[in-house]
Each structure stands twice: as structure tokens, then as C-alpha cells.
Amino acid sequence: MIALTRRYRFPAAHVLAHPDLSAEENALTYGKCANPAGHGHDYGLEITVTGEVDAETGSIVERDALDALVSERVLDRFGHRMLNEDPDFRERVPTAENIAVVIHDALAAPIAAAGARLVRVDLHETRRNRFAYGELP
């Protein structure tokens, strides 16, 4: 199997707090990440795709097409934003786990339409935490 990975980054703010929990309960669950004023990270994002290597282009997927797609669906949507305001995080706390899943689900169909298969999303929240989601172990 051959897999191609591209790395991207986006800075975003979030608050780890569930709307149904009280401020005390959220503070208890999420600690300082529950600060209602928010905090933020420079997220690092790795997108891994597999597929056939096209004989003409020599690529699994056109690099520019993949970059454009990730920019449109993820970087422009989440970069320099407060994640909790995104519709996908109204009911779902924007933990890195959930962000990785949301990004995966936002990219799977358009990457398939571009002729490749999204097999893994790696989200680096800080230099010390990273989260992986997808079929590729």
C-alpha cells in the first residue's frame, strides 16, 4: 500500500465545556481548558490518503487539488476562529478527539471525489499531544 501525507496548520480558539453542564461541572471535567474566555492552539494537521498512482501525473491525488480542498473544508473554516461557534461543535465539545473526527468526516467525501481515499487524520494540538483518527493504524 502506498500512502501520501501532507501537513497543514491552523490557529484556532476553543473552550472545553459542555453546554448542558454547569460551570462548576465543566471546570471539574476540563480544568483550565474550561476557561469561558477561551484559549487557543496552533493545530498541526496531517492528512493521509491512499489510492492508485496515476500513470500520467505520477500522483495518488493532485497535490494542488488536495491542498485546495483541505484549505476550503478545514483551514478556512477553522483557522482564526472560535471552534465552539462552528455548527459541528454546538452539541459536541471541541476536544482534539472530536476535532479530528469532524475534520475526517468533512474531508472523506471530497477526497473520494478527487479519486483518493482518506485513511487517517492526525491532529497535533500542542507539541506534546497528538490524536489520530481513521482506518490506517
Binding site: I2, L4, R6, G58, S59
Partner: protein, 138 residues
């Protein structure tokens, strides 16, 4: 017995351009954009072998032997060379990381003791890499 994976990394620097010999300069430029012009990369290659440690030496492979293979098959062929002018691998196909990692995997699979090669990871720049792994491996 315990199956162990070991990875050795090497770095090399190479120039290249994406071009198909049957296409004109303008057509190559149209198909491959700015990559049709000669440019270069600092590649990092990570080679992973997997096997059972020898009961006496405790090694899957002597790293000196692995490095010798990497020097002969990769460094001498590609380091400070031009992929299009100095090698025959990219006369009919552009040296995309996908095509390049397939070439490297074949060279190493042929040169290493049979069954040891687990995967090859080729990093073209800090934001781009490809990995080729043998699906038959456990």
C-alpha cells in the same frame, strides 16, 4: 519469537523536474506547473526492517550492513545528483514522491536479505511524505 521493527534514517539532497519526454516544454509546464522547472529537495528516507533478533547477536540486522546497502543503493545513486539527468528511473515517469518511493522500495527489496523490508517512508519536505508498505507483512 518476538518480531521487532527497526528503522534507519538517511538524508540526501537531489535536484529534479517533473517532465514527460513525449510532451513539449509548454505541455510539461501546463501539466506539472512550477514543478516542471528544475528544483531540489532535502529528502529524508526512513527504512524499516522487521524480523526476529538473531539469538546470538541480538540483532535483526547489523546496522553497518544496512548502512552499506543504503550508501550503495541510495546515497551513491541519488545524493547530490539530478534525478532526471543522472538516473534512468525517470525517463518515462515524473519523479513525484510516489514514483520515487516505489523506485527506492524496489532497489532496497532487491538488495536486502529477503523478507526483511517492512516499509519505506520518503519525506520530500517538512510537509510532504509518502510511505510504501508491504501488505503481505504482518
Amino acid at each position: 519469537m518476538a518480531l521487532v521493527r527497526l528503522t534507519r534514517a538517511i538524508d540526501f539532497s537531489t535536484s529534479l523536474r517533473y517532465r514527460h519526454p513525449d510532451l513539449s516544454e509548454a505541455e510539461n509546464r501546463r501539466r506539472f506547473g512550477r514543478k516542471a522547472a528544475q528544483h531540489g529537495h532535502n529528502y529524508r528516507l526512513e527504512v524499516t526492517l522487521r524480523g526476529e533478533p538473531d539469538p546470538v547477536t541480538g540483532m535483526v540486522i547489523d546496522l553497518k550492513d544496512l548502512q552499506q546497502v543504503l550508501d550503495r543503493e541510495i546515497m551513491e545513486r541519488f545524493d547530490h545528483r539530478d534525478l532526471n539527468r543522472d538516473t534512468a528511473f525517470f525517463e518515462k515517469q515524473p519523479p513525484t514522491p510516489e514514483n520515487f518511493v516505489i523506485v527506492i522500495h524496489r532497489l532496497l527489496a532487491d538488495a536486502l536479505p529477503s523478507g526483511l523490508l517492512d516499509r519505506v517512508r520518503l519525506q520530500e519536505d517538512p510537509d510532504t511524505w509518502v510511505e510504501l508498505l508491504d501488505e503481505a507483512q504482518p
